[in-house]
Symmetry: C2
Subunit: 386 residues, 2 copies
């Protein structure tokens, strides 16, 4: 039997004709016609104040770090259970990273622990919406207001997902922090291979964001006729993706609803099936979605009751032609952080997700027959292991 | 008459089928099958020791700055007449930029002036091969050896061009410095919209280069089976381009010879025609190619005898539907450098090229008829202006 991959990039069929359209427009460098279409989609359809495509979510986070003027010794609060780029983007500007533990019932940062970690050197809080599940943004924005901090949402996995406030209103993730970063890496719901987005909600940061993204030049203002020549006015980098990438991405955005429906169906199938497997709860917990969050079906994970169960599970599924994978390693235990920081941490829940979380295949091209096979394998594993 | 653009991205016709091939391979993030094909082309066909695709030449220069461990206060020597990214990449790591004037007969850095600019804090020399025309690399490498400095070639425009040593041997640009950076921006000979390449000639820098490019993780070693898990071991960023970009680029690389022949024909047509225009030399100098350099037909520029002539020339050609453009502004006079540096510079040749250089359309799709028209316009301008 052919291996069922953990991920398969979805292709709508329109991507390459849009790329040809970009080429025929005579401009395939950054900020061409498809970059504009993507920006419009994000601003008009999704309500982001200002959307700027970047070459990756990593780069969007780096732009954010430059924008809020992170200086040597500034402290940035974030979860330890996250991708290295969440922290590296700020370390590159000289920041000290302060890690917070995950929640006991889901991998997102435990917002109750943030206030104790705030010091006079704290510059920003970076909540990571793990698996597209919102952090407690009401609590976090209140703290930011109280201590005058920036909030940068790491919304890498959070497209089309929401925070639900106390009034029951759904507020789109990426619109809440002063800044937010999103990823279009091939493993995400909407993809361009590599790719990202910086969302600038704080209007005061917008004109400098354009400059930093254009290699530290005021080229954007020049093209709008606001200055008569453009030059080097700030630090910056080349954060613009090729319009080839934007053309690919735009085809995906047009199919957002179909992609989301398809992923949601798969997610729900897993959830229903696993709820009904006898003794499942002896080996695994199912994903928990807090009342203040929605699910965007970015990921279906199981939390194993021990790391040994996870090892056996991944091997068992591999023998049965299903590729399942673990995820992050606690950053506070990484070789880099251990070498460069004197902070001592005990973050039991971050370590729990490091050791025990396992992700199952989820993508539009996962057929019902294949998903049935995966569910069957899980059921057999539970039977054999219990 | 339709405007003749300054640049038109060339399309071989194979790009989108390669992109579809990448998608069907099941992997379109960085380091997919086409990234590998591009790396092989650069290493096997062009003889670069280690080739690593990046999202832009800017990013390749930033990788270089991280790789040579630029620290606050380190001095980096480079020409003032260059793109902002040459300097920004090092400023982002805290470097002090030391500018050198251009040569009197071409915009490249005057290598005779470098030794006087070297201090105990000098870390690297960054020669920029302007218009694909080599800097005096023998002189520069000798200085680097004498003072134990890194040499990072900014070969953004220098694909398929060479340095000619005293024995008359042609040495490919990009193979000479410890590191080199190349651009595939849509205005270059070989393109992917946005895109770049870091060339790592110094073998001692190669394993760390892989780590920095993979967000500071040892993921590459993990995939080669050299370590059993990968994690955060260094600073870094997401420098890998999407395999969509690599697929586009590979189609271009396969057509390198045709593209180069076509550009060279256009370059030579300009040169021959302008040599034969009466009174041409009262208004313009033609490009000069030093005996130690070859021409890769990246650019055809004219050097006007005054900035007033340039203004009139650009306007005259615009009225005649030809889009010609000036180029860099001396970085030592930029608002950013003026604000952040106490160095006082007098760099007359950098200012000369800033004020007087003008670039003419050159690209494979520029038809003989259109080029004839451009040459005719130049001839009429000379007649009317003299």
């Amino acid at each position: 039997m052919e291996m069922i991959p953990f991920n398969k990039p979805y292709y709508t069929g329109k991507e390459t004709s849009y790329i040809e359209e970009a080429v025929h427009s005579g401009k395939i460098s950054g900020d061409g016609i498809f970059t504009k279409k993507c920006h419009d989609f994000f601003e008009l359809e999704m309500g982001f104040n200002k959307a700027l495509l970047t070459t990756s979510c990593t780069d969007a986070l780096e732009m954010a770090a430059i924008l809020i003027e992170v200086k040597s010794g500034d402290e940035i609060i974030m979860p330890s259970y996250t991708f290295v780029s969440t922290s590296n983007a700020f370390v590159l500007r000289g920041a000290k990273i302060v890690f917070i533990d995950s929640s006991d019932n889901h991998p997102g940062m435990n917002a109750q622990l943030i206030e104790d970690a705030i010091t006079p050197r704290t510059k920003a809080i970076v909540p990571v919406h793990y698996a597209g599940i919102a952090c407690d943004m009401e609590k976090i924005m209140d703290l930011a207001a109280k201590y005058d901090l920036y909030v940068i949402e790491d919304a890498a996995q959070a497209i089309d997902s929401f925070f639900v406030n106390k009034l029951g209103q759904k507020i789109r993730l990426g619109t809440i922090g002063h800044l937010a970063a999103m990823s279009f890496h091939e493993t995400k719901n909407i993809i361009s291979g590599e790719g990202g987005l910086l969302i600038v909600n704080d209007s005061k940061l917008q004109s400098r964001a354009e400059i930093i993204r254009e290699k530290g030049t005021n080229r954007s203002a020049f093209f709008r006729g606001e200055v008569d020549k453009y030059g080097w006015v700030d630090i910056g980098s080349s954060f613009l993706p090729s319009d080839i990438i934007a053309a690919f991405l735009y085809a995906q955005l047009e199919s957002l609803n179909e992609i989301q429906s398809s992923r949601m169906l798969i997610w729900n199938n897993y959830h229903t099936a696993f709820t009904n497997i006898e003794n499942m709860d002896k080996l695994f917990s199912l994903p928990y979605i807090p009342s203040y969050a929605t699910n965007n079906a970015h990921m279906f994970y199981l939390l194993c009751k021990s790391s040994e169960i996870r090892v056996s599970f991944i091997e068992y599924l591999k023998r049965n032609s299903v590729h399942c994978v673990f995820h992050y390693l606690s950053l506070h235990k990484s070789p880099f952080y251990q070498k460069n920081s004197s902070n001592e941490y005990t973050l039991p829940f971050s370590d729990l997700y490091t050791d025990c979380l396992v992700r199952l295949p989820i993508y539009p091209e996962l057929t019902p027959l294949k998903q049935k096979w995966i569910i069957e394998c899980v059921k057999r594993f539970v039977n054999e292991f219990c």
